[in-house]
Amino acid sequence: MDLNSVRNKRIFTCWLIAPVILFVMSLFIGRYPLSAAELLRGNSTHLNIFMNLRLGRALTALFGGFALGVSGFVFQCVFRNPLASPDVIGISSGASAGAAFGILFFSGTVSVILLSFTGALITLILTVLFSSLDRYEKSSTFVISGIIVHTIAQSVLMCLKITADPEKQLSSIEYWIMGSLNGISTGRIPFNLVLCIFCTCVLFVLYRRIMILTLSDEEAKMLGINVRRSRFLILLFASLSVSSVISLTGIISFISLLPAHIARLIRKDNSQTTMIMSGFIGGSVLLSADILAKSVSSSELPLSIFTSMIGTPVLIIYLLKERRID
């Protein structure tokens, strides 16, 4: 037991250091041959690229990945379902539809970010509204209304895609849906990053309530919390943090689902440490995926390819380890 906890601590430290190392790597890897010497000398081109492009991208990958990892953990706890993720309540489809709308009718990155955030918010509000129609306070109601909203958002997205010009906007929409940090510059991220960090902090403050919600509703009520209100609050903040990230990055597969599983496989509990770890794993995976996306070829590759490629083997390794222990 003692040995185990030492090992656990070591693993935890590893996952704590990993994002830091990856963050620094991300700052110095990219298509432009950036050199530290030129940076120190104050070369304006190098400084500009470093401050505007590299820093913004690395920060978004780190905090975005952290927030997505944590919110994945929260969703799974609150819905008591290992497959729950922000997709379940339709946020990502809403964000996609919003982004597609932005790509079709407006131009420029800023309007796409704003509209996809709006899209995510609208789906969130609709999900909450539909679920409040049910008099019983079951968590499955939330999932069902989530599926309804998800379906509506998907059909809106399809309508937008069919009107899109295949030569122009359709490819942009498809590309957005695969996720990318390309085009992010430091000036465009402050609002989203601050919002996502704030929401993630609130989630940590609400940790006790999240844990109580992993029990059955009756038990949770007996412990003296208002199940409906707590669930609403927690999901609101988790969704807000997810929306603020994906409106910047597009839809990234795996990132909000699997970090929590990996963290739980290592820690074997739902403690606060597991929640933090899930965030660190999310951050590490997103940072490494982005490093690959921007360096493998001359053209930018979508993030989702790499998040799945990095994430799934890690999960499989842990699953195999698990079996050996059993």
């Binding site: 432009y32 492009l53 590299r54 295949p166 906007q169 390309n182 510059s185």
Partner: protein, 341 residues
Amino acid sequence: MNKYCIVLLLILSFLFCACGRSSAVSAAGNDQLTEDADRSVTVTDQTGRTVTIEGEPQKIVSGYYISTSILIALGLKDKLKGIESKAEKRPIYRLSAPELISLPDVGSAKQFDFEKCASLDPDLVILPAKLQDSAQTLESLGIKVIFIDPEDENKLTEAIRLIGKTTFQEDRAAELIDSISAVSKELAEKTSTLEKPKVCITGNSNLLSVASGNMYQSYLIETAGGKNAADELTDKTWAEISYEQLLKWDPDYIIIAGEAGYSADDILNDTNLSECTAVKNRNVYQIPSSAESLDSPVPAGIYGSFWLASLLHPETVSDTDFINSISSFYKKFYGFEFSKE
């Protein structure tokens, strides 16, 4: 061991067969046209299908803006009975053949409308090679169809010749081809010895998508006496790149695709690109598209290169040369006065 050798030999011979066949098809695509005395013509279209047209087609349907443009240039607009979707968005129709805009819409490359097409009872249907899967459906409806695939100047020439042949307008087609190749030759003579500036053509959707070395746009740059900064890319469509990649290539000119939803000002004012040579020297321009987007392989596409050459090499190719030449081209083949705006 022997068994493996035999298997290997078999695979190799199969590969050779496959190669042989594909080269035979492309050779046939080039120029294997045979004409019968009773005004029936057999052609091989650009997907390698053999089609026989009996009698001069009187009702033509075009499901592709490039074939529509070729048909107008060949003086066949009156025979067109149906055209592709979104015709109202193409200024060339408004300028040279406004009656086309109200013709029945047979769909686009994304969604071709077979029933509408059949209801027009056409003698000839011309479609992009992307739609070649629909050949069987159309043939089973008793409709003659040819596919064109004008990806570069040679293939455009071939497409023009093919359409000329099947519509019995070979002379006019030859005239059109001659005009195009004369311009192309003139540009090559004027620019081949000059230094080649680095040019990036950014795509219709956003400024971080560029034309790769495999695209028509790359050919356009080379004909204009430039070098595609994104040559190393091999994508078939616009490739997504990062600001950093663009800064690394550091093009001397950034050229925006004709139908892009953003303007030169968007690039000039983008702080992330302020260190780029093209932006510093304010060499950012949009391809003219007042009649047709000149970065597409339409008959007038060669003027995209002419226009670009007048930017890259103003000392040898002047803007007035460009305007005069394109005006007389449009006047002759499309019957309208060209203006840049």
